[in-house]
C-alpha cells in the first residue's frame, strides 16, 4: 500500500472509491507492444463531485491523474506510464435522462457504448457511432478519443453526436459546456476541444448526446476484387453511385488470406474485399442495395448481398472478428490507424505492404475505406522484441506516408503515448505551439494523463 493510497483513503470521501490498482487497470490494447504502466492508487468515483475531489487532491499534491474508460485503446492513452492515480469512470454508469421522442440522452461517462446503443434502439432511436470494441468501451472513452467505426462514414464520429459535456478540469472544477440544446455558438467550441483530447485537458464525467430515429433496415453488399486498384475503384464507384452508403469498409488481400475462409459464403482467397451498406426505410435500403450492388460489380470476382437478418448479422460479426483473428496469427501486432484522402487510399494500402516487406514484416491493412482510414498492421511474434522494434520503425515510416499523402497519423485511435509528439510532422510549428499552449492553459502542472498526446 503506497503513501498516496493511504492519504487518498484518509482524506477523500468513500464515494471516491479509492483502492489498490488491479493489473488490468495498468494496460490497454497496447499490452502486446510492451506497454504497461504503474499506479499508486485507483479511484473509482461514483459522482462528478468525487471525480473533482480526486483531481483537487492530486493537483494539490502534484500527483499524475490518468482517466480510464473501457481500456480498449490502441495508442496507450489509458496507460499510466508515469505513475500516479488512475481515475476509473467504471462506476459512473447512470443514464441521467433519456428522451427518445426528442432524440437525446444524457449519460454518464462510464456507460458502455453498446449498452447505450441498445437502450436507444429499444426505444426506436439510434446512437450511430460504433467503434470496434463497443461492448467494452465507455462513452467517456469514445468522447476522449472521438471514436469512429464503420458508420462514421455516413453519420460522423462521436463528436458529431455530443451536444454538451460535463467535464472536471484542473485544478478540480466542474464545468458544463453545452447541454440538451442542439445548437450553440455563444462561446468558443470548448466542447469539441475536449472531444478527442484523450484525457489531457479534463475528465469527461457525463455527456448530452444527440440520437436519431433508427433506420428500419441496413443491407450490406460485399465485393471481392483481384487487386488493390480494382478494389479502390469499387470504393470510388460506391461514392459515385448517387446514394450515401451508411458504411464503406475494406480488407486488403493480405488480411483476407487469413479471414476469407470464415466468410459466411464461398469466396476466392486473398481477394481485396469492399463492404458497403445501404440503410433507411425498407424501400430505401432495398433501392440503395441495388445501386450499390451495381456500383460494386465492375471488376469484381464476386458480389454478395445477403438479405436475411441472420446472414447480415453473420457478415458484420465476421467483420468485427477480423481484428481478433489477425491478432491470433502471430500472437501480436503493431497496428496504426492513419487516414488519408479517399483518392490516396490505394497508395496507402500499397505503402503498408511495401514498408512491411522492406523490414521483413508481414503487413496488411483493413478499415474504414470511405473515410480513407486504414488499420495498418505489422505482425510480430509475441515476445519477439527485435521484431517489435522493427515494427515500431515501420510504423514511423507509415506516419510519413500518411502525412505525404495529405492525411493524418491518427484517424481514430488518437496519439496516446505511442504516437505522442507525432503532430510535429503533421502540423506547422505555429499550430504545434498553439496546441502545446492549449494544454498548458487547461493543465498548467501537466498532471493530466502525462505522456499522452504531447511528449
Amino acid at each position: 500500500v503506497t503513501a498516496t493510497l493511504e492519504a487518498l483513503r484518509r482524506e477523500l470521501p468513500a464515494d471516491a472509491g479509492v483502492r489498490e490498482p488491479a493489473a488490468a487497470e495498468l494496460v490497454d490494447q497496447t499490452e502486446p507492444r510492451g506497454l504497461r504502466g504503474r499506479a499508486e492508487a485507483v479511484a473509482e468515483p461514483r459522482t462528478t463531485e468525487a471525480v473533482a475531489a480526486v483531481m483537487r487532491w492530486c493537483y494539490e499534491h502534484d500527483v499524475p491523474i490518468v482517466p480510464r474508460g473501457g481500456g480498449t485503446g490502441y495508442a496507450g492513452g489509458a496507460v499510466p506510464t508515469e505513475g500516479g492515480v488512475v481515475v476509473s469512470l467504471a462506476r459512473m454508469t447512470a443514464i441521467r435522462a433519456f428522451d427518445p421522442l426528442l432524440w437525446r440522452i444524457h449519460a454518464e461517462a462510464g456507460v458502455r457504448t453498446a449498452d447505450l446503443r441498445r437502450i436507444a434502439r429499444a426505444s426506436g432511436v439510434w446512437f450511430p457511432p460504433d467503434p470496434g470494441a463497443a461492448e467494452s468501451s465507455h462513452i467517456g472513452g469514445n468522447i476522449a478519443t472521438n471514436a469512429g467505426g464503420p458508420h462514421a462514414f455516413k453519420y460522423g464520429v462521436t463528436g458529431a453526436w455530443v451536444t454538451g459535456l460535463e467535464v472536471v478540469v484542473p485544478p478540480g472544477d466542474v464545468i458544463r459546456v453545452g447541454g440538451a440544446a442542439r445548437k450553440d455558438v455563444a462561446g468558443y467550441d470548448l466542447r469539441h476541444l475536449i472531444v478527442g483530447s484523450e484525457g489531457t485537458l479534463g475528465i469527461v464525467t457525463a455527456a448530452w448526446l444527440r440520437l436519431i430515429p433508427a433506420p428500419e433496415r441496413s443491407l450490406p453488399v460485399i465485393g471481392l476484387y483481384p487487386t488493390v486498384a480494382a478494389g479502390c475503384e469499387a470504393i470510388q464507384a460506391a461514392m459515385a453511385s448517387g446514394i450515401v452508403p451508411a458504411a464503406i469498409e475494406y480488407l486488403d488481400g493480405a488480411t483476407m488470406a487469413y479471414v476469407s475462409s470464415t466468410l459466411p459464403f464461398r469466396a476466392p482467397p486473398g481477394a481485396f474485399a469492399v463492404i458497403v451498406e445501404a440503410d433507411g426505410s425498407v424501400a430505401e435500403a432495398m433501392a440503395g442495395r441495388e445501386a450499390l450492388e451495381e456500383a460494386l460489380r465492375p471488376g469484381a470476382a464476386t458480389v454478395h448481398a445477403p438479405l436475411e437478418n441472420d446472414a447480415i448479422a453473420a457478415l458484420w460479426r465476421w467483420r468485427s472478428g477480423v481484428s481478433i483473428a489477425i491478432n491470433a496469427v502471430r500472437g501480436s501486432r503493431v497496428s496504426e490507424d492513419i487516414a488519408v484522402p479517399v483518392d490516396r487510399l490505394a497508395e496507402a494500402v500499397t505503402a503498408t505492404l511495401e514498408i512491411g516487406a522492406r523490414h521483413g514484416l508481414e503487413a496488411m491493412s483493413w478499415g474504414h475505406a470511405g473515410d480513407g482510414n486504414l488499420h495498418s498492421s505489422f505482425l510480430v511474434d509475441a515476445g519477439d522484441d527485435a521484431a517489435l522494434a522493427l515494427a515500431e520503425r515501420a510504423s514511423d515510416e507509415l506516419f510519413g506516408v500518411a502525412i505525404a499523402l495529405g492525411g493524418t497519423v491518427s484517424g481514430e485511435h488518437g496519439l496516446g503515448v505511442l504516437k505522442n509528439g507525432q503532430l510535429r510532422g503533421q502540423w506547422p510549428p505555429r499550430a504545434v505551439e498553439l496546441h502545446r499552449e492549449v494544454k498548458r492553459l487547461f493543465d498548467p502542472k501537466g498532471l493530466l494523463n502525462p505522456g499522452t498526446k504531447l511528449p
Copy 2:
C-alpha cells in the same frame, strides 16, 4: 487618408489591396440598431500570404484587425467598432479544388455560400448549410460564425462540413489544420475551435469542405395551428414520426399576422405555422412527406403539401422573405437568436411575446424549430432611440430566459459586439476563464476583432 492607410500602401505589396474604406464596409445587418464602425483602411488581399502580411503589419504596429465576409451578420461581428484595418476576404474567391465524385471542395473564404452551393449542385453534390443570407454571405463568414439555417436540423451546422482550415493567426502565421482527409484525431480540435470564433482567433482564408450526393427530391409540408401549444405539439409529432425531416421550421402567430397574406395558398391569418421537409430519393421523399403530413394533421387548421416544383420553390421563397418583410413593418427591429432544448420551445416563444408586452414592444419569433432555435424580434420605428433602448433591455431579458431554459444566448449569429460578455451568464466562471485564456493564447495583443465575443 490616414497615416495607417499611407503606411500600409507604402509597406505592403499591391496584392494586399489596401484602400480607403467604403461606408458599407463599416456596418453589417446591425446598422438599424445603431451600430457603425470606423476604420483607417481596408485591405482586400488576393492571397493568403497577403492576408498574413497585413496581419503582421497590424500586429507589429498595434492596429486592430477586423475580418469581413459578406457583412450579413446580426451581431456586429464584422463592425470595426474600435477602428483599425478591415480585412475583406471579398477577393479570395478561388475554388482551389473540386472533386464532386469524392464529395469534397477546397474553397477560398470569399466564395459566396450560394455560389458554392450552385457549383456543387451542378455536379450532383450538395453543400447542405443554407443560412438565410446565402446569396451574400461568404463561406469564410459562415465558418467564423458556424452558420446554420433550416437544413442544419438534419445535416448539421457549417462546422460539421469542414474537414480542414487554412487560417492566418497572430502575429501573421499561416497554419493548416486538417485537409481533404475526412477523419483526424491527431491533435486537439483547433479546427472546431476556429469555427464559430468570429474572427477573434484568426482569419480563415480557405477551407476543405465535405459534400454529399444531392437529394433527388425535397418535399415540404406546412401546417397551421391556432395556438403556440398546438404548433409545438406538431413539431414534436414530426420528430416522433420515425423519419428524419430535413428541416423543421416555425413562424409564430404574431409573425404570420404580417406574412400569411403572401403565402402561396389560402391560410387563416395569425396561425402558428410549422414547415417540415422530407428529402432523399423520389420514393423516399414521397414516403417521408406522407408520414410528415400525418404527423402535422392533428390540431391543424390547414395542412398544405405542395408537389409541383414551382409551388415548392414559392413556399421556400416566401419563408426566406419573412425576415425582410418583418423589417419593413416598422423600419427596424432588434433580433436575437437564442436556442433552447426543443421541448422548451413553446416556453421561449411565449416568453418572447410576454417580454415584448411588458416593454410595450411588438414582439414575435420564428426560426429553426427542430433545433430549438428562435429568431425573436422586437419591432422598433427606425430612428426611435428610446424604443431601441427598450428593445435592447428586452433582449437582455430574453437571454435570461434562454439560459433558464437550459439553452444558449446564441444559436447561430454568434455574440458579436452586441452580446459580448453574455457568456458569463451561461457558463460557469472556470469555463469563462478558459475561454478568455484561449483568446489570449491566440491573440496576446487582443487586436483581432476587438470587442467581439469578449468585452
